[in-house]
């Protein structure tokens, strides 16, 4: 039923394209539609809505971005049908800088005040998260840089989630339903740290193992898809 695998609606924020179960077919159908009325779509922004259970993979993302780019449509947001945002691409200008591997979202970008990234799964930021920026993930969060803004791991309730950063000086940390704000004395952390939920709320500890690892190790681990433990 190809006609049903895709629904396109206009909205204030751009065109909303809703995919149903057969994603492969939907992308092909979308490609045809875009090609058939280039004048209508060209220059617009798209919000892609995916079925709840669909697992986003890098390959899919690459194909989707390609199909949209061919018709001068900008991917503005990727989200699930129940409206949890997966990626807001407005934050990430170049699609090469976002990726998904083994369910881990990684973003290479300095996040500035007002930026917000939400990930359905584990989230890795290569760059600083400045004060006023926010990173939210249903899984773990790793910031390869300074975490100065707000981070919320386990956003749908997973209290086993962790937040790691090379410099963990967040305005506020949240794990599951626990909240901890920056201490008033603003001491500078000595090295990479990890936050987790302990018996009395969020605790922050040295992230010892990582200190001994050289930086490229981490990137090999993620980008070339080896087993990842956040």
């Amino acid at each position: 039923m190809p006609a049903n695998s895709l629904r396109i609606k206009g909205s204030k924020n751009g065109i909303v394209i809703e995919f149903e179960e057969d994603i492969g077919q939907a992308v092909t159908l979308l490609e045809d539609k875009l090609k058939n009325s280039p004048a209508f779509f060209s220059g617009s922004e798209a919000i892609i809505v995916l079925p709840e259970t669909f697992i986003v993979e890098e390959q899919f993302l690459a194909r989707l971005t390609q199909v949209l780019a061919n018709s001068q449509v900008k991917l503005r947001e990727l989200r699930r049908v129940n409206s949890t945002t997966i990626i807001e691409t407005e934050i990430i200008k170049t699609p090469e800088k976002i990726g998904v591997e083994q369910g881990i979202f990684w973003v290479e970008k300095r996040l500035r005040s007002g930026d917000r990234i939400t990930a359905d799964g584990d989230l890795v930021i290569v760059g600083d998260v400045n004060p006023g920026a926010e990173v939210v993930a249903t899984g773990n969060i790793l910031v390869w840089g300074n975490l100065l803004g707000v981070a919320h791991a386990g956003s749908d309730g997973n209290e086993k989630s962790r937040i790691r950063a090379l410099r963990l000086q967040a305005t506020q940390l949240r794990i599951g339903s626990h909240i901890s704000r920056a201490p008033d004395d603003l001491s500078t952390p000595q090295g990479p740290e990890v936050a987790r939920v302990g018996p009395n709320g969020i605790v922050i500890e040295a992230w010892e193992k990582l200190v001994t690892e050289p930086l490229p190790f981490w990137r090999r681990l993620f980008i070339h898809g080896r087993e990842v433990k956040l």
Binding site: E90, I91, K93, R110, R112, S113, G114, D115, D128, N130, P131, G132, L148
Partner: protein
């Protein structure tokens, strides 16, 4: 020939955009360049007042965009400095009187005939901001050494990156109203603290000084009326815009010597 369009913007309002537009423009013109100061702060224009050119306004930016006159006709020539012109904003029309495409086309046009177009951006991040940044090749972000100002500047850098098509390497920051005495006592953010967060190149550091208010009220750019540290900071900034490698001097502004000189009227 095609000149360069630079938007002077900030996150927080009242941090010195208009002051910087006027003085950087004057300094660039004094260095032999042709410069148009474009006031994009529609409804709250005051670049004309700071420049002391208010009483010569006949046409304004909205008239030009609406095709009432050519931009050349609306330009006010500054009689004190060769090569310096002002394109005033409209005071009564509302901010939506101009569309981004119109602004972009206008800036392109002016760039054909002048070395620099400095665009004085309105405060905030709404339509007026978008209009002001759309035609710019480069951006100068003014920040004062306060946490809230830096935070808002960070947001603007992000927005410029996303909406303005201005690459990060073409964004520069100017730290305005710095007081070295307070920095030394660690009561004020240092330039390097701000740099750490914004991660864009520093184009200038301007001391906090009453002479700025005096010159604003007189309607005379400080680079014309004075040789003090503020004027020097603007000349240095202009030099850097022109590609010169001018070192930053972190020397205190209110030193004993300058206080004595001020007392004897040898400096302002």
């Amino acid at each position: 020939m095609s000149g360069k369009a630079i938007v002077i913007t900030s996150g927080k309002g009242g941090v010195g955009k208009t002051t910087t537009t006027a003085n950087l423009g004057a300094a660039l013109a004094l260095a032999g360049n042709t410069v148009v100061l474009l006031d994009a702060d529609i409804g709250l224009r005051n670049l004309d007042v700071v420049m002391g050119l208010e009483n010569r306004i006949v046409y304004d930016l909205v008239n030009v965009v609406e095709g009432v006159c050519t931009y050349n006709k609306a330009l006010i020539k500054d009689k004190r400095i060769d090569g310096l012109y002002l394109l005033p904003a409209a005071q009564i029309k509302d901010k939506d009187a101009i569309k981004p495409e119109q602004m972009k086309a206008l800036v392109e046009n002016i760039k054909e005939e002048f070395d620099f177009v400095l665009i004085d951006c309105p405060a905030g991040i709404e339509q007026g901001f978008l209009n002001a940044i759309i035609g710019a090749d480069e951006a100068i972000i003014i920040v004062t050494p306060e946490v809230s100002s830096v935070r808002d500047a960070d947001r603007v850098v992000g927005l410029l990156d996303k909406k303005g098509n201005i690459p990060l390497e073409n964004m520069h920051m100017v730290v305005n109203r710095i007081r070295m005495d307070m920095v030394r006592k660690k009561e004020m953010l240092d330039v390097s603290d701000i740099e750490d967060l914004l991660r864009i190149n520093v184009l200038g550091v301007i001391p906090d000084d009453e002479s700025v208010i005096v010159s604003t009220n007189k309607g005379e750019p400080i680079v014309l009326s004075s040789k003090n540290s503020v004027a020097q900071a603007f000349h240095d900034m202009a030099g850097r815009v022109l590609g010169e490698d001018i070192p930053f001097d972190e020397k205190p502004d209110r030193s004993f010597v300058s206080a004595v000189m001020r007392f004897f009227g040898l400096a302002q």
